[in-house]
Symmetry: C2
Subunit: 141 residues, 2 copies
DNA sequence: GCATTAAAGTTGCTATAACAACCATTGTGT
DNA sequence: ACACAATGGTTGTTATAGCAACTTTAATGC
C-alpha cells in the first residue's frame, strides 16, 4: 500500500514541533532569547555550573551547537564560562546575575506555554504521548 | 508547581523530531537528498507541476525556505523551474527524468522508515497521536 | 615515561527555518 | 486608465543542527 504525504506520523511530529517552536520563539524574542538558548538556561536554572559537554549530553545535541549557543549566551551576558580547575579542557558554564534574574521572568512564561499547548488534553493522554514518543526514539536508535 | 526540564511535552516532541530527522537524513544522504528536499519531492511525486507558492502552503513553511530548497533541487538536477504562462510572477516546479526515477528508490525507503518508527505501536495509538498533535497545533494558532 | 588514545572545544561547511526588505507582476477601486 | 494594494520570488540576516577535521589536554598501555 502506497502511503500518501499526510500518512507519515513523523511528518506530523515534525510539523507540530515547528509550530510549537515558532510560537515560543516569538514569546521569547522580547527577552533576547532564542528557543534552544532557553533550553540551556533551563538546565542551568535547575543546576548551575554544568560543563559544555554535560549540556550537550543532556540536550542530546552535537557539542558544536552547544559551543556556539553558549557563546551567544555569553555575548548576551546571561552566562560566563570558566576553565574547570579539574580538567583544563573543560569549560564550566555559570549563570550571571542577569541570567539568574531572567529565570524569574522566563519560567512562568514557559509554564503558561505548556498550559496552552496541553489545553483540552488530559494528563493521561500526555503521558501516553510521552510514552509513544520515547518508543519511537528507541525504535530508530 | 514548578515543572522540571523533562516535564514539558513540547520538549519531548522536539527531541523526538530531531532524532527521527537525523535518522532519515542519514538514510537519504547516499542519494544526495536532504530531509526537507525529500518532502518537496514527495509532494511532486504525488502531483507534479506545483508552483513554489503551493509547496510553501502545503508544507506550511516560509516561501524563502522553499525558494532556496527548490534552487538546490534544481542544482542537483531533480527538478526544473519554469515561469507560469498564466502568471509571470509564479514559478512552476517540475520533476526531471532523474527526479522521477529517484522516487522509485526513495518511496520504499520512506515506507520502511515509517514501519521502523511505528514498530510496536498500534494503528489506534498512531491515530490518537495524530489527533493530539493536531490539537496542540490548533491550541497555539 | 613515552607513545597512543581518548576526550573537550573550536572552526568550517551544508542544510533547514523564519523575518524584513525588496522587485516584478497582477488585481482592484474609482 | 491610473494609483494602490496584493501576490510570488529573491536577497540578507540570525539561529539552529550535525558532520569532519583540528588543537589542547588527559588517560592508558606497555
Amino acid at each position: 500500500m502506497k502511503l500518501s504525504w499526510g500518512d507519515y506520523i513523523s511528518i506530523a511530529i515534525h510539523q507540530t514541533d515547528l509550530t510549537l517552536t515558532s510560537y515560543i520563539k516569538n514569546k521569547l524574542a522580547p527577552f533576547n532569547l532564542a528557543p534552544e538558548q532557553n533550553l540551556i538556561l533551563m538546565l542551568l536554572w535547575e543546576r548551575d555550573g554544568l560543563a559544555q559537554n554535560d549540556i550537550a549530553e543532556k540536550l542530546d545535541k552535537d557539542k558544536t551547537n552547544i559551543a556556539r549557543m553558549v557563546l551567544n549566551l555569553e555575548k548576551k551576558g546571561f552566562i560566563k564560562r570558566t576553565i574547570s580547575q579539574y580538567d583544563r579542557r573543560s569549560l564550566i558554564v555559570k549563570l550571571t546575575q542577569e541570567g539568574k534574574a531572567l529565570g524569574d521572568k522566563i519560567i512562568p512564561l514557559t509554564e503558561e506555554f505548556n498550559q496552552l499547548v496541553t489545553k483540552g488534553i488530559t494528563e493521561k493522554e500526555i503521558e501516553e504521548l510521552g510514552r509513544i514518543l520515547t518508543k519511537m526514539r528507541m525504535n530508530v536508535q
